[in-house]
């Protein structure tokens, strides 16, 4: 924001370490980088007012009310500017205070960060400075358990090997230790003097927000020598916000400071998601705006018709001022129009926005507070990142879920492996009684010993697992019990642990060497030369190691689809059988391959890789390309099978979601077979589901792929079309469809459909595909790249009717779809926290989705829908009498109610009950909502905010408005209503209408409340009592600041009149009785429906209980 302009991000920057010029000849030019001040605050003391006001008035509603207010100030209008100004400024001030407070907190946090002291090495001395004073190029010393003050290039640590450990818990929530390496040439500079002698420049890319990417190069200058260039990667970069662990101290040079640090660049908020309810509100607003304008137009027109009669226009008793007489008629008409607008502007409620926002904000706490969504294992409950979407949770039509870590637990267990086609399996129960060295193995035939060992060594070497010691990392402990393996992927840990079971134990890193304890308890050392990490596109990882005997070995481990094409074809067959069978059982399989490299080969590769590592741009791609070249003609050794158990209640949750009318799609990067069996296990596919497959398998040969695909598409389309018209009479989201279809598609086929080679008729097939998808009850997309997941979500999101989509996932690969969907849900899983950080809501487990959607979502939707409708309703019956009154006061814009009432109606008298209602209402018990998913369908398609209910509420409001006005009108045919014959005036008239109004509107809410907690009682009766109290108070004093004492004792006189009491009671009763009758009838109909439903559900549940049995038989069969 401050310095990191977009255009500056291209290109590179050069940093002079310690601000020392590289040579005497080059003059050192002080470079301009931004300082290390973190400014997360939005405002300063000076710009707070204008900036905050500007931002608030950018909102259309606030702007509207500002305009109304200005009109009131400028034009002579019936109500004083206070009436609309007070609520508006109340809203504005409350918002400003809230934002100001939040900003103050940010200022304080900033100050804390900026003023924290750091040590900078200057001229071989340590200088204590404020963190904000750090400049790019400064050498900074950081001690253990301190956080890094800016992004540093790691130069040296107190460890000789130039390693330090870091946790990034506050950056991405991953609490494991990450190892960072210093460049080899600087590791020795362990004192202030040493480090001061370093002359070097660092070239690196301009700041960019990706936490896991960094490319740079350090040029180290030694006296009279050519500079040495070393590549820098993310492993050399210490990010601001992460904490140094297990290392006494480190030296680093600042490369990115202040607002250019990766943390600051990541700080920017996500794009706002708007909910469907808000769209409805806007539609209703337009309707009410039309009503408002037409009311004003009607009144203005009638006014001039009425005034065409001169004795109406200006009777002798009521003459115009000279100014009024002189203004042009057109201008006068325009002013009159504006005046009417102002008079009726309350029909669009200012306070609705505030109330809606408060409701959302406060309401979201209930999600975070929910004990049932708390997970004992990770000691965390649900997390709400945005409160804007609470009600959207009640509207979900499509659920896109990730498989690994979402449906499954992502806690991996090594099940079996196969080496050269021989199956190795152990049962944990059989562990006892076997000696440790031999391993508790059960062999199904045995592979050669050397192959076996090779396989196990591969498992021990080809990974990125680290060891976290009990207290210190360095030094081998005999006591292995206090070790923990740490890795970003649980698969790897399972594999390393699996290898341990077979006798090969990974003991950790020591400098460049990896130590492995073999079956004979000997320690083997391998020099780790190159690692290319696992990434979802390549779907494999490789390491190159050098054995102690000097042999270069390449180990590669990855998905079968990426390994098989790269190994000798004759070796595949025997392993493939195992892999496929394991996949059928729902295990995750990985294939392991190796290759021996000759000295020359290695040299060549090493050069290429070093060169690639030097590259500043696209380094990873370049490295991947080189590895691609090496990873050919490898030898397949074997495969592993790791079990990923289904999360508890995952199947029940999916079933509930489907019963609730949602369509569940599984988007996974996993293999089709694995994913399919998970789908069966999680009851996404039933045994009677007919599966339509669109995969590489069914596509067949590569040449005719596309034609075949089109054929298949048409065939499936026809099939579905034939089947569905029969059911068209039923509900769209009915849960009983005679034949259920499931679709399976994989990534490559999907890209064929979405990005066809020839663009002829491609869009046609795309739409056919979409139609197929929408007609299937469940869809499984496997082999998906992260971006494809988002593509699918976008495709469904943009179909006709714009269904509400929800994405749930746990890993970094789900982030794109989480951001794309209407509602993004993160699982606080084991694959880091990126998903949870980018989500709108985060829950610990998949099963919590059930309560989140069925109970919370449903309730929030009902609450907010009722809130919105009620707000429009109460303002309609508030303003309608005022409109009708114009017909009896010569269209003179005379307000019916006193200004205080106009102002207070929405902010005091009627605001709290609806707020309490919208926070506490449970029209159906939470338990019932969770246990009966079909209730969710009742509110589907934004049911409570469609035009029909809107018209109903509008009708109700109009009816009540008419009753209020004409009831009092007829009462006032004789205005002497007191027992002493004294008469009432116009303000009493308005007060009676207003009293009836406040009581009716509040009691109407009371009628709608199905869940009366003490708070509801308090606010409902409290509001009414406050109204009465306020009226007495307001009329009891001659207010010195008021020009007119209109209300003086009006209310008190009103309540002494028996007739008024009788009229008020009668009018309230008349207003409410149609509603009461309607509710009674609705309940009756509902109850009868429920009865018939109960019968249906009885038969359903009996059917449902059969299902697990069926499933069991299926999985038993598949095991054979």
């Amino acid at each position: 924001k401050l310095c990191a302009g977009e255009e500056k991000r291209v290109g590179t920057r050069t940093v002079f370490v310690g601000h020392r010029p590289v040579s005497e000849t080059d003059a050192y030019v002080e470079q301009k980088f931004c300082d290390n001040r973190i400014v997360s605050s939005k405002y300063t003391v000076w710009n707070f007012l204008p900036k905050n006001l500007f931002e608030q008035f950018r909102r259309i509603a606030n702007f509207y009310f500002l305009i109304i207010f200005l009109v009131q100030v400028i034009v002579d209008t019936p109500t004083s500017p206070v009436t609309s100004g007070l609520p508006l400024f109340f809203v504005i001030i409350v918002t400003a205070i809230k934002q100001g407070y939040e900003d103050w907190l940010r200022h304080r946090a900033d100050k804390e960060v900026n003023k924290s002291s750091v040590f900078i090495v200057e001229n071989a001395k340590q200088v204590k400075k404020h963190s904000e004073k750090i400049k790019v190029g400064d050498i900074v010393e950081v001690k253990a358990d301190e956080t890094f003050p800016c992004d540093l290039i790691f130069l040296a640590s107190s460890n000789d090997d130039g390693i330090c450990y870091v946790t990034t818990a506050s950056l991405d929530g991953e609490s494991n230790f990450k190892t960072h390496y210093a460049v080899r040439d600087t590791t020795g500079l362990q004192t202030d003097d040493d480090i001061d002698s370093l002359t070097a420049t660092i070239e690196c890319e301009q700041p960019q927000p990706d936490l896991y990417k960094f490319v740079g190069r350090i040029n180290i200058y030694r006296s009279n020598q050519e500079p040495v260039a070393r590549s820098l990667g993310p492993e050399n970069l210490l990010l601001k916000g992460s904490t140094l662990k297990n290392t006494k101290k480190i030296y680093g040079v600042a490369v990115y400071t202040g607002m250019e640090t990766k943390m600051a660049l990541n700080y920017q908020g996500k794009s706002q998601k708007r909910s469907a309810v808000e769209k409805s509100i806007n539609a209703f607003l337009v309707v009410y705006l039309c009503i408002l304008v037409s009311k004003a137009t009607v009144c203005t027109t009638l006014k001039y018709i009425w005034q065409s009669n001169p004795f109406n226009d200006e009777p002798w008793y009521n003459q115009k001022t000279i100014k009024e007489r002189d203004t042009f008629k057109i201008l006068r008409m325009f002013t009159d129009f504006l005046s009417f607008m102002v008079l009726f502007n309350f029909i669009i409620p200012v306070s609705m926005y505030v109330t809606v926002e408060m409701q959302k904000f406060l309401g979201s706490f209930f999600i975070a507070w929910d004990k049932e969504m708390y997970d004992e294992e990770i000691k965390e409950g649900a997390l709400v990142n945005t409160s804007d979407l609470n009600e959207e949770l009640g509207q979900v039509e499509y659920v896109f879920t990730d498989k690994t870590g979402t449906l499954t637990e992502n806690s991996m267990k090594f099940i079996e492996c196969c080496i050269d086609g021989h199956k190795y399996k152990d049962g944990i129960s059989e562990v006892d009684g076997f000696s440790h060295t031999d391993g508790p193995l059960r062999y199904y035939g045995k592979a050669e010993k050397c192959r076996e060992e090779l396989f196990l060594r591969a498992l021990c070497l080809c990974h990125t697992v680290q060891i976290k010691g009990g207290d210190n990392v360095d030094g081998l402990r005999v006591n292995q019990e206090c070790w923990t393996y740490i890795s970003s992927s649980p698969d790897e840990i399972a594999l390393v642990k699996g290898a341990k079971k077979y006798g090969f134990t990974f003991l950790g890193h020591e400098a460049d060497y990896m130590k492995v304890q073999n079956q004979k308890n000997e320690i083997e050392k391998y020099q780790l030369l190159h690692v290319l990490n696992f990434d979802p596109v390549r779907r494999r990882m490789s390491v190159i190691v050098k054995t102690s005997t000097g042999i270069f070995l390449l180990f590669c481990k990855g998905a079968d689809s990426s390994i098989f094409p790269r190994v000798q074809q004759d070796e595949i067959q025997q392993t493939k059988v195992h892999v496929e069978r394991n996949a059928m059982d729902g295990y995750r399989t990985l294939c392991v391959a190796f290759k021996e490299l000759t000295q020359e080969d290695y040299k060549k590769i090493n050069d290429q890789l070093s060169e690639a590592k030097m590259a500043l741009q696209d380094r990873e791609e370049k490295m991947a390309r080189i590895f691609d070249d090496i990873e050919a003609d490898m030898h397949l050794i074997g495969a592993t099978a790791v079990e990923d158990r289904l999360q508890e209640h995952a199947a029940e949750t999916i079933e509930a979601l489907q019963t609730a009318g949602m369509k569940v799609w599984v988007l996974t990067g996993d293999k089709m077979e694995t994913a399919k069996s998970t789908c069966y296990a999680s009851r996404l596919f039933q045994t009677n589901t007919e599966l339509l497959e669109l995969t590489t398998k069914t596509m067949g040969d590569s040449d005719r792929k596309e034609e075949r695909l089109h054929e298949l598409l048409l065939e499936y389309h026809k099939k579905l079309l034939q089947d569905f018209p029969k059911n068209s009479g039923k509900l769209k989201r009915s849960w009983t469809v005679s034949q259920e279809y499931g679709l399976i598609i994989d990534g490559s086929t999907l890209s064929l459909i979405l990005n066809p080679s020839q663009d002829s008729s491609s869009s046609n097939y795309k739409s056919i595909f979409l139609q197929i998808c929408l007609k299937c009850t469940s869809v499984l997309c496997c082999r998906m790249a992260p971006l494809q997941k988002a593509q699918i979500v976008r495709m469904v999101k943009n179909t006709k009717g714009n269904p509400i989509t929800l994405s749930i996932g746990d890993g970094a690969n789900d982030v794109s779809m989480i951001l794309e969907a209407h509602v993004g849900i993160g699982i606080k899983g084991k694959e880091g926290r990126q998903a949870a950080r980018n989500s709108d809501y985060a829950v610990p487990k998949f099963k919590h989705l059930r309560k989140l959607l069925l109970a919370h979502g449903h309730l929030y939707y009902v609450r907010i829908a009722h809130l919105v409708q009620y707000f429009f309703y109460k303002n309609l019956c508030f303003i309608l009498p005022q409109f009708l009154y114009q017909f009896f006061c010569g269209f003179s814009q005379q307000p019916l109610y006193d200004a205080a009432y106009l102002t207070m109606y929405n902010i005091c008298f009627t605001s709290l009950p609806i707020l309490a209602y919208s926070l506490l209402e449970q029209h159906i018990n939470i338990e019932t909502l969770t246990s009966d998913p079909r209730l969710y369908m009742k509110i589907s398609d934004n049911a409570m905010l469609q035009w029909k209910p809107f018209l109903y509420w509008t009708f109700l409001g109009s009816f009540e408005g008419l009753v209020f006005f004409f009831g009092v009108y007829f009462l006032f045919q004789n205005s002497s209503l007191e027992h002493n014959g004294k008469v009432f005036g116009n303000w009493t008239f308005g007060t009676i209408v207003f009293t009836v109004l406040v009581f009716t509107v509040t009691l109407k809410l009371a009628l709608d409340t199905r869940f009366w907690t003490w708070m509801n009682h308090f606010v409902i009766w409290g509001s009414l009592a406050f109204y009465v109290f306020f009226s007495f108070f307001w009329g009891g004093i001659i207010w010195p600041f008021l020009k007119q004492q209109r209300m003086y004792f009006v209310f008190a006189h009103m309540v002494t009149s028996v007739s008024t009491w009788l009229a008020i009671v009668l009018l309230i009763f008349i207003s409410l009785s149609p509603e009461i009758l309607l509710v009674v009838f609705k309940n009756k109909v509902q109850r009868r429906k429920k009865l018939s439903n109960r019968k249906a559900s009885d038969s359903l549940s009996s059917r449902r209980s059969v299902r697990p049995l069926l499933l069991r038989t299926f999985s038993d069969e598949s095991n054979v």
């Binding site: 109406n312 706490f365 004990k371 070790w483 007829f970 007119q1044």
Partner: protein, 366 residues
């Protein structure tokens, strides 16, 4: 089991740092309070036919007698109304129809009428105006309440709202504004004609305004003297008034701003057809009705022109009950609503019982 991947351990061992990113590191179990778990004890009423319809039935039963009571009370109120506008050429006041404000001598007319029934209790005399928009916005706001409250600075500097009735002849008007300016100034006098002799009936002009208005809201300007003429010095009378405000009445406690006729007029009416209390006729003794049946005559000093805006003027004599003046609306409304409720209650109760029986029978098998 030594090497177990266990996120929990790590989270415990190294509590996540307090980063500016926030969000992370909350590992507190939610409180198990009824409020936070949305499990507050609650009353969950459901409006069912079984509870509501009897209620309707009962409400009907209550409303009907109330309605009848009101209706009877209202019917027992005696009311007599005379339109003395004089639009009809046969009317005695026809000659005064086009009277202007300052006609001297004032136009007077007399209307004779007969009361067929005696008025037993206190009688209230009202004047009524029609098509007079006292609730017109320009009119309603054309007053200065602080002037009327005796504020001396407002007395000499009337509010802008009073325009164009705030100054006349460069002097501030007291009381200013359109309302005050157009004060009703017909004089009505009532005579009983007993054997051709006119016996004047005492009309009480005090006690017609709200007590709070007379004693708090309206005050004469304060000063050292009790002489109203002096207190109102520097002000001028409203344009249409024949006399200044301090000459409205001879009695000191009914003069100036606290003149009750004036106060009554200043309470603007809600609708263009309205009545205002003019005089009280108190019952003298318990033996005789306040107004016996018989002939009466009404003497009118016709000052107030209404013909120009098509208005009407009425004089109303009325007795008052506990519910105020005659008002058939309330009684009829109560009776109607009560009957409908009663009817609905009965009909629906019958229907409900039929359905209800069916429902309970359906419940048993489940």
């Amino acid at each position: 089991m030594a090497v177990n991947y266990n996120a929990k351990e790590e989270a415990d061992g190294h509590p996540s740092g307090v980063g500016a990113s926030g969000g992370a590191g909350k590992s507190r179990k939610p409180d198990n309070t009824a409020f936070k778990q949305q499990r507050l004890p609650a009353w969950q009423p459901i409006l069912t036919a079984g509870t509501v319809l009897p209620a309707f039935f009962i409400i009907g039963l209550i409303f009907i007698p109330i309605g009848i009571g009101i209706f009877v009370t209202s019917n027992n109120i005696r009311e007599y109304e005379i339109d003395y506008t004089g639009t009809d050429s046969s009317s005695p006041c026809n000659k005064c129809l086009n009277v202007s404000w300052n006609s001297t001598p004032p136009c007077t007319c007399t209307i004779n009428f007969t009361l067929n029934q005696p008025f037993e209790t206190n009688v209230f005399m009202y004047y009524g105006l029609s098509n007079f928009y006292q609730n017109h916005r320009r009119y309603v706001k054309s007053r200065d309440d602080s002037q009327l409250n005796g504020d001396n600075s407002s007395l000499l500097h009337p509010s802008k709202e009073c325009e164009p009735y705030s100054t006349s002849e460069n002097k501030p008007i007291a009381p200013c504004g359109a309302i005050a300016n157009s004060m009703f100034n017909d004089t009505l006098e009532l005579f009983r004609i007993d054997n051709e002799t006119r016996i004047p009936i005492t009309l009480n002009k005090k006690g017609i305004a709200w007590w709070t208005d007379k004693n708090v809201k309206f005050r004469n300007p304060s000063g050292n003297t009790n002489n109203l003429t002096a207190l109102f010095q520097g002000t001028t009378k409203p344009v249409n008034w024949p006399k200044p405000v301090y000459m409205l009445d001879s009695e000191a406690d009914n003069n100036g701003f606290i003149n009750e006729d004036f106060i009554v007029w200043m309470r603007t009416a809600a609708l263009p057809t309205f009545r205002k209390l003019y005089r009280l006729i108190e019952r003298k003794n318990n033996l005789q009705p306040t107004l016996q049946a018989g002939k009466y005559s009404l003497d009118i000093t016709y000052n107030y022109p209404v013909h120009s805006f098509d208005g009407r003027k009425r004089m109303i004599l009325s007795t008052i009950s506990w519910m105020g003046g005659k008002n058939p609306f309330l009684g009829i409304a109560y009776i109607t609503v009560g009957s409908i409720c009663f009817f609905l209650g009965v009909v629906l109760l019958v229907i409900h019982h039929k359905y209800g029986n069916r429902n309970t029978s359906a419940d048993i098998p489940n």
